[in-house]
């Protein structure tokens, strides 16, 4: 996975000529109107024929910095099937308060189409049909539908977004769900600001030019401001041509990791009046300092006295650090409920979350770190990016690429990664969403550092079946299923979703048609550090009657795979399962004296390259008893596209094995 890292493009490239320009708006494009299909992707229902965006830094009327982003797009629709997805434009705007906000202006759209009589007509966007909703306190969205869409039409739209947020310089997505013939982004940045630019995704830029404009940016003189400053600007153009449509695959992490786009991060800002430079994120030590002193992070981590009173009864009587840590962990995750919002920070503070009994991942886990420290357990905070959020940017320090925080407790030379958002997670186990590449560890007294998000956790199940063939042709016996590690967590979550364990057990009968559950029991539902044990007393009805009163029996009684989850001929992106897994199954069948086994089954041993996993079966029989077993091991979390065919074949081998039956015949 680490192969597809962003490629850095140095900002200050010189000596290139040519500046890209926006293409003219609102001209009839007869070639586009006449297009019947897109040759490079004949299955496309629409194609972006041209797209240009730019960001310029300037001032507003009160001489405050304002970044103006402009986007101009031309789309050809071949038929009506892309109207729903590509025909509605949505932009989200952020506002901090009444005076500092993003705004949208100059929204326009025009559609050229052939009318019922074959004449070319144009329709303009009606300004009253631009909708604006305030989604929440700080976010609103602007939406409009492209006017008069018809099969074969060509649409252009453009708008400007103004933003005072220099730390949130707009990036650009070269790739979308429809192909693009050309996509260009131009940025114009005065030397007062320095940004890092990162290109994500596998596609290369088709062109990239940069030039310096001398003394292009002057501040001062106006508005009674004394003094002044002037700087050169970098004018940089990034372009891609023939960009294919982006298509998501199953079992992949965030599409952000793979979609071609460019993103910016503010490195340094120079105060226009004083000339004082403020570094934002040149190096990790800058970020360390920022987080340490930040009111929603470092300041909160210092509030050990807030937690001390609350946790002293919790750890009372506990002598060793591990049991203290476990007690604190379960106190925090049962006291504060996760509101399903992901955050690195505690914006309302630890106290508020404790009192509300609800909070973000930041509220909960910063509380956890602080509470553990208050209990005398040296604990650090680890900022991470969840799987849906994409891989963290490692080329340069970039706080924006993190969205979540967890705790790292250091006890007796061992470290435990902890997430307090779910009371069903045992101490030291992380939910799947957190298992994503690497995290950055912060403490109040040491420089930050990277760690792998590897807890050693795995999904593990062991099933044992013991059956005896009855004279009526049915089999009776017991099934015991152990769910260990992450499997126990998943099973517990499933059981807790049912309104009672009985309701959960009703599912077993529905999923396994040939098994009749006579008695059942689930143990350890509430002791989360232990495996879940399901014990079933069952009656099995072998469905396959054979000629001459023989009985066909499939030893794969439960957990059948049946359908290969991997179906593609080839894959473009890695398969990422988050953690290894192991599935063991052992069945023993006792035959009455009058029966004997007619056939056997061959042992199978299939291994993935690089010790990535294996499927092994075994069979042994004596006069009245036989035992069949298998182990499926998936040792790696991530499989490259090159390893994909082997993974697919492993499942094929399992399915082939599942087809085999053992035949009981009368002596």
């Amino acid at each position: 996975m680490r192969r597809i890292l962003p490629t850095l493009i140095a900002l200050l490239l010189f000596n290139f000529v040519a500046t890209a320009q926006d293409f003219p708006y609102g001209k009839v494009d007869n070639d586009a109107l006449a297009m019947k299909k897109y040759d490079k992707d004949t299955s496309a229902h629409a194609v972006v024929t041209n797209e240009y965006g730019s960001s310029h830094m300037g001032f507003d009327n009160d001489y405050r910095i304002l970044i103006t982003f402009m986007r101009h797009v031309k789309i050809k629709f071949f038929d009506n099937k892309e109207f729903e997805n590509s025909g509605t434009i949505v932009e989200e705007l952020y506002n901090a308060n009444e005076t500092s906000y993003e705004d949208i202006t100059d929204v326009k759209a025009v559609t050229f189409y052939k009318d019922d009589n074959g004449n070319i007509q144009q329709a303009e966007l009606d300004k009253s049909k631009i909708f604006r909703t305030r989604d929440s306190k700080h976010v609103s969205s602007v939406k409009f539908v492209l006017p008069a869409l018809r099969s074969g039409c060509v649409v252009e739209f453009s708008y400007k977004i103004t933003s005072p947020y220099t730390f949130n310089f707009k990036g650009w997505e070269f790739q979308s769900s429809i192909p693009k013939m050309r996509s260009v982004y131009e940025v114009h940045i005065p030397g007062f600001w320095e940004y890092n630019a990162a290109l994500a995704g596998p596609l290369k830029l088709s062109f990239n030019t940069a030039k310096v404009e001398r003394a292009c940016f002057t501040y001062g003189g106006g508005g009674g401001v004394s003094g002044g400053a002037s700087a050169d600007c970098s004018d940089i153009v990034y372009g891609m041509t023939d960009v294919p449509a982006f298509i998501e695959e199953e079992y992949m992490t965030s599409s952000k990791n793979f979609k071609s786009a460019i993103q910016y991060q503010l490195v340094q800002e120079t105060d226009l009046l004083s000339g004082v430079k403020t570094k934002y994120a040149k190096e990790w030590k800058d970020i360390d300092y920022f987080l340490k002193t930040y009111s929603e992070f470092g300041t909160q981590l210092k509030r050990t006295s807030l937690l001390k009173d609350r946790i002293s009864p919790v750890i009372a009587g506990k002598t060793d650090e591990l049991s203290k840590a476990k007690a604190v962990y379960s106190y925090i995750n049962s006291t504060i409920k996760w509101n399903h919002r992901e955050s690195v920070l505690s914006s309302d503070g630890l106290k508020q979350a404790l009192e509300n009994h609800a909070g973000t991942s930041g509220d909960i886990n910063l509380n956890l770190v602080t509470a553990l420290n208050a209990a005398g357990i040296p604990t650090e905070a680890v900022i991470i990016s969840t799987r849906d959020h994409g891989i963290v940017n490692k080329l340069y320090p970039d706080l924006n690429s993190f969205n979540y925080v967890i705790a790292k407790a250091n006890i007796g030379g061992q470290s435990y990664l902890l997430d307090g958002t779910d009371p069903l997670l045992p101490f030291g186990m992380l939910p799947l969403r957190c298992l994503n590449d690497q995290g950055r560890v912060f403490s109040m007294d040491k420089p930050s550092y990277w760690i792998d998000m590897n807890t050693g956790q795995r999904e593990k199940t062991t099933t044992t079946v013991d059956l005896t063939l009855q004279s009526d042709g049915k089999l009776k016996g017991a099934v015991t299923r152990f769910s260990v590690g992450y499997s126990a967590y998943l099973k517990r979550t499933e059981i807790k979703k049912s309104n009672s364990p009985d309701e959960y057990l009703e599912h077993i009968s529905a999923e396994n048609h040939n098994i009749k559950v006579i008695k059942s029991q689930v143990s350890n539902i509430d002791s989360i550090d232990n495996p879940i044990i399901e014990t079933l007393e069952v009656e099995v009805n072998p469905t396959d009657k054979m000629t001459d009163n023989r009985i066909g029996f499939s030893p794969f009684l439960l957990n059948q795979v049946k359908i290969n989850p991997f179906k593609l001929a080839q894959r473009d992106f890695p398969v990422d399962r988050g953690m290894p897994s192991e599935d063991r199954y052992i069945i023993t069948v006792h035959l009455p004296a009058e029966y004997t086994l007619e056939n056997t089954t061959q042992p199978i041993a299939y291994g993935l390259p690089n010790q990535g996993g294996s499927f092994l079966t075994d069979f042994s029989a004596d006069a009245n008893t036989f035992t069949y077993s298998y182990i499926t091991r998936i040792n790696h979390s991530v499989f490259s596209p090159e390893e994909y065919p082997y993974l697919k074949e492993l499942y094929n081998k399992i399915i082939l094995a599942e087809k085999n039956e053992l035949v009981f015949k009368k002596k």
């Binding site: 509101n339 009657k545 089954t601 087809k659």
Partner: protein
Amino acid sequence: MIRAKLLIGLLLFTGLPAWAQNKLDINLIPANLLHNANAVVRNEETTIQVIEADNVEFHVKSVVTVFNRNGDPKVNINVFYDKISSIKYIKGFIYNEFGKVIQKINERDFDDYAASDGFSLYQDDRVKHYRKTSGQYPYTIELEYALKVRQSLYFPSWEPCEESNVAIEKSSFQFICDPGFNIRYKQDYLPGKANITTTREGKKAYSWNISNFAAWRDEPLSPPENQNKPRIILAPEAFAYEKYSGSFASWQQLGKWEFDNLLKNRTTLPDETANYIKSITAGISDPKLKAKKVYEYMQQKTHYISIQVGIGGLQPFKADEVDKDGYGDCKALVNYTKALLQAAGIDSWYCEVYGNSREKLSLIPDFPSIQGNHVILCLPFKNDTTWLECTDQQIPFGFLGDFTDDRNVLACTPEGGKLLHTPKYRTEQNLVTRKADFTLNEGGDLEGEMTTSFKGADYDDRYAIVEKAQSERLKDFKKYCQINNIDIKTLEYKLDKSLDPATFENVKLSAREYGAITDGKYYFSLNSVDRQSAGLKPITNRVNPVTINHGHTYEDRITYTLPAGWKLDSEPLNVAINQPFGSFSANVSVNNNQLVYVRKLQIKDGTYNKEVYSDLVDFYNAVVDADNYNVILVKK
């Protein structure tokens, strides 16, 4: 769609005047209410007071005890409001299990969001969402809020027991109005009659209450949820709605009011469009074919976008606006289609319906009120009434599908409202027929061709796949298909969009190692094309009757040509089951080296008594068993 606007999101939250705190001790909950309950409504009082026709107050007080995480959603409070309704206040308390106050709830504990129904581009509703909670179970939340609403056209129904696994200790509902303000109401599954009294202020008060209602479980194949639980539905006689007012006591009058106030004079088209419609329909004499031509024109010219704005989401955009913009919501597109048909000289009716694919929810014949959430168009041809769904660009003329079939709808005509019933897709009509010819070789590989047709309500079964690019179709087909290692040589779809529409699918395929050969036996799955993968979950002590919404018929015939030298070792499959709710037969016959598998599954729609459920479980188990039949061959 016209969203049947919820003025109050969760009516169940009511509170009570601050009780003596220990009364909220959880030990006081009657033991019989704890069974299956994740939460218990301790007390709830809901009041609707009509002060004037354009000034209605909703008052809700509730006390709910939550026992575990599954009960949390019960106190996940959302209060909806919009341009014509505003929140007067919200307040409350959180108590611990002993009934002791542990927190106070204020309005600032609520987050304010734009309400989203998940499909609208724009709607003017907002929601206040409560975010505080308690860390320890059990806990009790008391909440009280009031809303002011400037309309009296529709009132939310009172459904105190609408949520599963929630028991009701006590709940009451009161409707207060001037003696001159007449209401109609319908009460279902409630003991006793409305208690009608006069308040001290001389107002008329209707009240109902319910107590000691045990928590119910969600059971699969239950009748539509709100149809067998206690509820009160209300409708005004005279009402105000924004600038409109009116009155109705019958569907005829309601439809008339809607036609005159919301629909009339909204079907004007630009001359060019009207003329074009005339020109393309000029040569067609059959009015139905004429209408088909107009419908297909509308489909290629428009697309569906939901925008809920203005008068409660009840009035359609004007036809000329849709003509210009090329999009609209269901009301706008139905109204536009009506306008186009009018230009071709064809009369049509705007019809309100409650669309839902899982449940057939019919307008209640003897209780006229605003009940729909969607609009369709009716063409009242003599002896050949035709129905049009106008929000879909791809479906055939006259196809409704399971979203709106077989239910009462309100047609708004110039003469007034008419209650009509949409056509039903019958069990025999909803037919999927599959024919396959497969050849198996000595090594276990399979090769062959399969043709499937989808008819009736099943016409759109392959909808999601048909509309995609071929490369995506191949990927999606593999997702549907149960044949492992499938390699698709060709995959073709043909859509017959005639008045009796059908989708045809043809696939030529091969699959490596379809059969497994071990120790002198050759194994392969008999049914990898239409396999019922799981049975129904058994429900002990079922309460609800069994409802099957739509009947379906599936017919499969697969011929396997077996490799030479092998014969059948397993006993040929031969199953036949007949039940009132359906039938199933599957059998295998072998003729030389040809193994022929014939399967027919038929499920009949209807409502059956609750005892039938266990037969249905057995029935599906038998189907799953048969579908999982593993063919075993041995060398001759």
